[in-house]
Amino acid sequence: MPAGFVVLAALGVALVALPLLGLLIRTPWSRVGEILTSETALTALRLSLIVATTAAAISFVLGFPLAWVLARGSFRGKTFVRALIVLPLVMPPVVAGVGLLAAFGRRSGLIGSWLYEWFGIQLTFTTAAAVLAATFVSFPLAVLALEAGLRGLDERLEDAASTLGASRWYVLRRVTLPLMGPQIAAALVLSWARALGEFGATITFAGNLQGRTQTLPLAVFERLQTDPEAAFAISMLLIGLAFAVILALRGRFLR
């Protein structure tokens, strides 16, 4: 093991560990119980769980077919589509929020104005908007993980299954998806974690209202202005949540 690598690796770990350590130390442990059981925190927690889980689910349902098309299909412009899918990952989240407004805003949105005029449907300032913002930024992660999983599969196993009389749907359910278990879990966890932490797009597109759009990151941000210690406490909650999920799946799926 080259010594230089070990040093750099340690620096890398420190880079991630130090801010977490700082938060751990700054958190007002005496007040934590009271802060985390406050209405603000509990409401934000409930909303975050709903938003992140819904976003991850949508990312999977839409992402799997897309991953399939990218992994197995051949069509002109595939490279372009893949680059497009990756865009939300590199976009500043606030810009993503502005983009969502431009598409789904009630007044000036491409689709949004049509939805509002014809159906009276408004997306902004709703929980659905928070879900949409979270899905937008986490979708690429799901697609990339699922595409990698599909590429890694031995398609001949699917051929074998069909020679054994399995319909295409049965092959998908009983061969393809089970064999992709770890990759599916990775896709879900990654997109869920990203959705949980989404801030910029949410605050720009969905707004900030307790119980409707104020997810944990937004609650932290608001608290940071008035009561920083409370913000630290709620941050610990967020981090603890994500950590717990990742750890729980580690033994089973994420190797």
């Binding site: 031995d154 001949r156 196993l157 051929d159 074998a160 299954a161 069909s162 020679t163 054994l164 009389g165 399995a166 319909s167 295409r168 049965y170 009983r174 061969v175 089970p178 064999l179 278990g181």
Partner: protein
């Protein structure tokens, strides 16, 4: 019930064309060198690779007929396939693998379980029913794969190199098991193999595929007596010399190959091009000195190998062209045949059978 195959399959620049029939209860072996196109043919029969031309008809049902736009996907074909790499599902146990085709077709779990267990028992591998494929030995995995292909009681059984992945010991043990199962199987069996012993022992008929074409369809005996290609000849252990013909005199000619020339009878059908000359080892006589007599092919050379088989010996000769002679053990003693000894070999012109290219 018959299988009728008459297809052309194009893959890239390679085309495979084959035409053969197989009847109920028969075993047809597709034999040929690597890359000949055997796997492509089997994939086509399985429905994994649609042919460009021709048709595949099983028991009156058209499985493939591109001209009429007919293509039955694999899951609708009454087939069972054992793949060269077995392709057992790694996430299922041995038993679940065998149950798979039944459950996929809607058979009740209980019945599927019983039928699968029964088959695994017959193949003497039931004690591994709960093991995952990665924990099975080569021979065990092969039996499970066979059970999985058979359990659905298909009309057509396709086996792709069923024993090739095994070591010699396992192969010998398994050969008998496979033979028994095939013997029991009431449908049509098509086996791909490159092992002549497998082909000759398992098959009623051999379809020899070389370079995308069928070069011979015959029973093992017919091939043994009349191989129609270099590959087939090598297979059955006869001498095969390829070359051009040149006339000598009335009714005879010279077969000129890159390794030597032979005197042969002039074939009536010859127009031009290369021909194959087959000389049975048993027709080659060995002499200590140059023989007298009317045989028109007399060659000299050193012995390169002596292989005893039962009560005969096969003697390799570094003649021009190189030959194998089959002699009695007595001759081996009398001529003191062993590697390096100089001998003379002779055979008549008429003992060279010529085949068109």
């Amino acid at each position: 019930m018959t299988l009728s195959v008459d297809v052309t399959i194009r893959r890239g620049s390679f085309a495979v064309r084959a035409s053969f029939d197989a009847g109920r209860g028969s075993t047809t072996a597709l034999l040929g060198p690597n890359g000949a196109g055997k796997s492509t043919l089997v994939s086509s029969m399985a429905g994994l690779v649609p042919p460009q031309e021709g048709s595949v008809v099983l028991d009156g049902t058209v499985l493939d007929e591109p001209a009429a736009g007919v293509y039955l996907p694999p899951e609708q074909r009454p087939i069972g396939v054992v793949f060269q790499d077995l392709l057992l599902f790694p996430h299922l146990t041995a038993l679940e693998n065998v149950e798979f085709p039944l459950v996929a077709r809607g058979v009740a779990r209980g019945e599927a379980h019983d039928r699968s267990e029964h088959l695994l028992r017959r193949l003497e591998v039931v004690e591994r029913a709960r093991a995952k494929p990665r924990d099975l030995s080569g021979g065990e995995a092969q039996r499970v794969a066979l059970a999985r292909a058979l359990v659905g009681e298909p009309a057509l059984l396709l086996l792709d190199e069923p024993l090739s992945a095994l070591d010699v010991g396992a192969r010998a043990r398994l050969r008998q098991v496979v033979r028994d199962e095939l013997g029991r199987f009431p449908g049509i069996r098509v086996v791909i193999t490159h092992d002549p012993v497998e082909a000759f022992t398992m098959a009623d008929r051999l379809v020899i595929v070389e370079d995308g074409r069928v070069t011979q369809i015959a029973t093992p005996e017919e091939i043994r007596s009349t191989p129609r290609s270099r590959y087939a000849a090598d297979l059955v252990g006869v001498n095969a010399v390829r070359g051009f013909l040149e006339p000598i005199d009335e009714g005879t000619g010279r077969l000129i190959s890159s390794e030597g020339a032979l005197v042969v009878p002039w074939p009536e059908w010859y127009v031009e091009g290369e021909v194959l000359g087959i000389i049975r080892p048993v027709d080659v006589t060995l002499w200590p000195v140059r023989p007298e007599g009317s045989a028109r092919n007399v060659l000299s050379g050193r012995v390169t190998s002596v292989a005893i088989e039962n009560d005969r010996a096969r003697v390799g000769l570094a003649t021009a062209p190189p030959l194998v002679a089959e002699v009695t053990l007595g001759s081996v003693e009398r001529l003191r045949l062993r590697s390096g000894v100089a001998v003379w070999a002779s055979f008549k012109a008429v003992e060279v059978e010529l085949l068109p290219p």
